[in-house]
Amino acid sequence: MRLQVATRHAIFSVLELAAQPHRQMSAVDIAEKYAISPNHLAKVLRTLGREGIVDASRGVGGGYRFVGNPKRLTLFDIIAIFEPIGPTTGGFEAGDDTSEGQALRLVMNEIEDTARATLSSITIDTMLKIARRSKGASIETVIRKAAGQ
């Protein structure tokens, strides 16, 4: 499963801001750490602001602040703001009216149900704990762990 760029930016921003909820951070500060475009990130932060997840203040010393509940806000909540997610309920696709098409849909729905359950169960607070545990691990180790090896 690959997340869209805006979704990844949103998750990184929320994690960065939630890690230090009393601190205001600028889009540039966050963009630098994750090597992403500050302009694109600013758009993402505005969307998060409209959703009541971050609060923006202007002027000197201004920036963004996390105002959500880290023990309740889940990865699923954030992803759902930026991209469609969930069982394959979209429109009719060629082959859907065959038994093979229905079998394929059944299997794809099983995968998506599992993904949804996983994303719905991981809160921002839990993500921060996972990030702390991953600190110092090489990217190869993280990929191997993610692949269950």
Partner: protein
């Protein structure tokens, strides 16, 4: 959010079974007294493999956790399984669930176990989030099932 609670965690005794049955029935809406009575007997007869711990405050049982050490099921080396946890709804967010989980993990560690597992319904978001918050991640097994009347 509930206030900070001060409670004791200890192995269940016979007098705890009735309150465990009541708390479980309140949380799951499915009373199963015979199950809990049998589980308590198992814990008494196999104290090093079966664990039923309770959280008590002012002599009132407010939470419990149950688990056991299973060896070589599905080819897995011995590991601890948590198969039930419940906390009185008015006591939630006090850290009792986390302390119960830590207590049973400590019991597994003392028995030489280095891995703990559980199984959660996919749509039980609250329970799944709880175990995730304790550091649990997806394991190497996938649960499969089949309707036998197919």
């Amino acid at each position: 959010m509930a206030e900070e609670q001060h409670f004791t965690i200890r192995p269940a005794c016979a007098a705890d079974i009735e309150p465990i049955i009541r708390l479980d029935a309140a949380v799951t809406t499915t009373p199963k007294p015979a199950y809990w009575e049998a589980l308590f007997k198992d814990c008494q007869s196999r104290r090093k493999q079966h664990f039923l711990l309770v959280a008590v405050k002012d002599d009132v049982l407010l939470g419990f956790i149950a688990g056991e050490i299973r060896a070589w099921e599905f080819g897995s080396p011995p590991c601890g399984w948590v198969f039930a946890i419940a906390v009185d709804p008015n006591t939630r967010l006090s850290g009792m669930g986390a302390d119960l989980f830590q207590a049973i993990c400590d019991a597994f560690r003392r028995a030489g176990i280095t891995k703990v597992r559980t199984m959660v319904a996919r749509d039980a978001q609250l329970v799944m989030s709880f175990f995730r918050a304790q550091g649990m991640m997806a394991g190497p097994f996938v649960e499969l099932e089949k309707d036998l009347d197919e």
